[in-house]
Subunit: 370 residues, 4 copies
């Protein structure tokens, strides 16, 4: 029987992983047991965000140095999934997932985690059927690794896929390939969308015959309620982390999730908190807030330009990208309820949660009653 | 006996005041009765935000054209107080305040409004004692105009003061004047701060001997809980709008306010809603949300770089100004509770509410029970 | 015989047209004689740039007030063509074109100007054949008005077409229309591109059979060397200003133009200056610089990501739009040669000058020898 | 006798130092011979620019891995001086300086280089006398190391000093220290300014009695014509690189420099090019352009808001930092003359070159005649 642990560290600078280093030094974290790292870095979360790659490099050298595994090999084995953009109240951090053996499972299902990687993807694969299929395959593989018996027990699937610069795209076109778009930022959206369809297909949320390239960024009625996809120039393939519950895992952690119908959908968050055993209230009390081990949010600026029938301006803004706007807004809303600002909040929720909304997922220490 | 009415209009573009124009045309708004307009426009809310001046010009021509008063005179009589920046979920809008006669006051105190103007201010006046005193004088005058008998009945004081461009500042220096800072954005902060001290002095929130230039941007223990100050290049003096309650006013509107201790201070907002007669709940139901006539929020990025002991990055950001970050965050939090995104959310809360926090004020239709 | 005059004014603020007002007051400019205004304003030049509309409103009220023509009628008669974005060394300004009668033409052709308007365009017209054809028609009409006998004498065609916000686009889609793209910023590019093809078609620079919707943003070998197109939310149709030379016009002004092969193409600028009678030198001497009446530049970030075989990063940037980058760069280059920063520099040079480059056009006082 | 070599590499991504890696692998660069690296990275060049630290980490691991020196020791020995911000046409790159032995000096003085480090600096040292003195000491030490006999032979002094985040500043204040300003971006300016005064003092450009803390950011008549100072969070002390000419060095490289009186000062650049043996012309021909080994530019937005008597808007801009504007503008001007966009262009030229201007320095292959 295995046991997953979740260690959340503050990130003063993408080059400063001293918190994890200290935890390795004092034995709190065994670097060999690290299976994934998910983090929120200081950059803009767009094509030219290098803070994701910087943190990945920092961690690869730290983990490599403390395990004897070459840094490049670390990066091939351990998904480093970072989203840039700590707008507003959000706080830069990274969450380290470890897996160890434990004596026996508890009476409840335990937190289960599995990871997988697709083969490398090229610009011409992004937003296309190949990305959908490879992602679905990787999700299935990660579920198997996590020994999650029922897809209903999957509560969060984080995918990080590649982004490409203008130079990369031009190179693809020069090879005679066609790409979904020659706009680097837009290509990130295609990649997130196709990957989300792949997750939804693997989990049965989206019928196989509808999880097709033609639906990418077109049929927004199709979505996964647990998929969270980011893109960045620092990865070459789709890295997949599946988190859920399984009777084959022990420990005192559990996880819940909820789709958000729009940016203001508090009615999604509070029932999830109740289901996870938190007492009722507008904001978690300081004591209860400490049960939170990690929080994940996906959100987007409603494509019809309206929130509750009032216009928003996020999609017309040439100064601040829409993703930065919506992350700052929805991140603050969730933080205000949890009393915790170290959340993984990611914009670009194409096919990830309901259109115009998104999703939220929380890993928490099990309470007495939940 | 007088009666104040509050008309909130969506603003598709700072040059498009067709909503008010239609209301004037159909008799819903008598343009002669307009005493103030407070609005949230599309710009960045910083020195180079011209959307505030654009809306002011649009309104001056509309009101001038429908009343026969020259537009320049309209601008001298009617405070146009606009704050730029509709980050995140916020929606551009403007709220028109009108005053008319009414037969008799009701059993409760009615919504009361008064306006006043300081003399013109120059760059060298900003952040200085002269601005503090002139603002305090104008607040007292506006309270008198509003026939508010008790300063405890003042629930919101909106001030709009001048901002100056680099060229203006250089001209002042060329005249031999000294200015508080030669940084145009920082000078806006000085102006907000000194004006807030003036409001606090007039209301007795800040002892007269402490409301001095030396305390400006220094002693953040001094603050007003009802002052909301903006600055912009489109005004030449401090324009003051005082809103409160008075037995000499009729109508079915009321107002409340609450200081916010930090950006996540939900404990300030919900009790205020209860006091205003809203039923308990995480978010106002659609029906109740309709009682909201106008909402005002002041907020700021905590100067110590921390929110609930976790670092935020707003003060280190060279891409997005701290005010844009915090407006988007706190605006979203308040909007999520009210279910209403057309809020006046203004950053730069120096001496406006507790340090690191701010304040919220709501004008609502009186409920049966409140 | 007619005479065109060119008056360039500094613009301290889009609401401050006091320079033109003073010139009208002192008789230097007859407001009835104004046929077009081209200007560079303070905004970002993207969808949410309201400084263009603000200046248009300011001028419409000034010209309306001094001529007795209603401001709305002024805007229908006089093209107000403003481009936002004074990046780097550039200086906000507006150039007023007037036409008056004169006794007789001189020995050389005189500066000639003609304006025309297309019918209003909807989101679904942008980037489509209808926009190409209507623009070509308007250009022909403006050439006729300008009495320019030979299209080789056309040296500058400025077009300002409509931009649409997300709300407008959603409304079009709701009517069942299809639009070239649902991205507001990208739709501006489609509009510039189709309009440029229309100019090229009217002038014979692009064969009629190639000036088709399929070529828009696709076949970049097609371009006009004199077309400069901007888009903005403040106009509803394509407004066209044609400037060239004609024996039917008098006065001492002349005009030249040159295509720029890339952003660093000094070899285009210097020969044009020589042809206009400026003496050789790296930078115009202060005395000669005074001969410049107006300068127009179109430029773009090379789509292949390279300038002289070195990568640029403009197309990957999520913080600063590519147009802001390239305007600041090419504007500075041209300003450094002319010793003049009050230039109309506009980004987004799709089909306007060679791919990856752009064009420059100068109106100057005729020298003794040119 | 020593010989300095200069290797300039393109930087596709701050984590991609494969060009240098390949040169080490093929023997073109001996990693033990590297004495300094100066580079231009993808970030914004402000406090939250992590691309500088990312490149530093990448290089430290590469050089450490190929020399056997621990990466942290590499960083203590080799100044890594990176400036963020490749606005407009600029191209990310890094220039590696190596020193090797050579048989004999040539008939001309050879390119000489020396490096030195101050002790670590804290927030309270920035902009203060301690920073001035320590920098002056380090410059003298680097000159000695470089065996430059005459300060007139110093043509470029690059300094990289520490920047501090809000958290760092708050920590200093918490220790009871006073800091020059609590604004992180402004503190970078103080650091650049004090360091430049230190350089000027060491070189005799600024009298010792005037190189005092009171003059920092106040007396802009004081400046060094060869000092170029950057600040960044990735360094802890002032790192100093002095480049000049010395009879004790061989090789075929030389260096020149020129102060720029304002942003458009072409009259500074062209004479420097002539002195370095380039033929006259508006732009270097492709053949001659190849002689350029590295170019360094310092520039700033004129504090009086004017360039050649026309207003610029850089200091009023809340969307794009003034440094990004001016780097894009002056970088483009210099690039257009050199036909080379891989230039080190750095904003914030406080006391570095004439007020409102800056400086340019070029390392080139000696021509036959120079």
């Amino acid at each position: 029987v295995r046991r997953a642990a979740v260690h959340r560290f503050t990130l003063p600078d993408p080059g400063d992983v001293s918190s994890l280093s200290a935890s390795i030094a004092n034995g709190a974290v065994d670097p060999h047991s690290i299976v994934a790292v998910i983090g929120k870095t200081h950059g803009n979360g767009l094509v030219n965000d290098y803070t994701r790659g910087y943190l990945a490099q920092s961690l690869a050298f730290l983990i490599g140095g403390t395990t004897g595994v070459p840094p490049d090999t670390v990066r091939k084995r351990v998904p480093f999934i970072f989203s840039g953009g700590v707008e507003g109240v959000l706080s830069p951090h990274y969450t380290v997932f470890t897996v160890s053996k434990c004596e026996s499972a508890g009476p409840s299902k335990g937190l289960a985690i599995g990871v997988a990687f697709t083969p490398d993807l090229r610009p011409e694969d992004i937003g296309r059927q190949r990305q959908i299929e490879l992602t679905a395959d990787a999700v299935r593989q990660a579920i198997a690794t996590a020994m999650i018996a029922d897809v209903a027990d999957v509560h969060f699937v984080q995918v990080k896929g590649p982004a490409f610069s203008q130079t990369d795209i031009v190179a693809s076109l020069g090879r005679g390939a066609t790409v979904a778009t020659d706009n680097p930022g837009k290509l990130m959206a295609y990649g997130r969308a196709a990957s989300a369809l792949g997750v939804g297909k693997a989990l049965g949320e989206i019928p196989a015959e509808k999880a097709v390239a033609d639906a990418v960024l077109r049929d927004f009625s199709l979505y996964s309620s647990v998929a969270s996809v980011s893109a960045g120039v620092e990865v070459g393939c789709n890295e997949v982390v599946v988190i859920g519950l399984s009777k084959d895992w022990g420990g005192d952690l559990t996880i819940g999730h909820a789709p958000m119908a729009d940016a203001l959908d508090l009615s999604a968050i509070h029932p999830m908190l109740r289901a996870l055993g938190f007492s009722d209230g507008h904001q978690l009390a300081v004591g209860e807030s400490g049960r939170i081990k990690a929080g994940f949010v996906k959100c987007e600026a409603a494509r019809d330009g309206l929130i509750r029938n009032r216009p928003h301006t996020m999609l017309n803004d040439g100064d601040i990208d829409q993703q930065r706007h919506i992350r700052g807004a929805v991140g603050a809303i969730v933080a205000s309820i949890l009393g915790d600002t170290a959340l993984f909040v990611s914009g670009g929720a194409e096919h990830q949660g309901p259109d115009g909304g998104g999703l939220v997922s929380l890993i928490v220490e099990r309470s007495g009653e939940a």
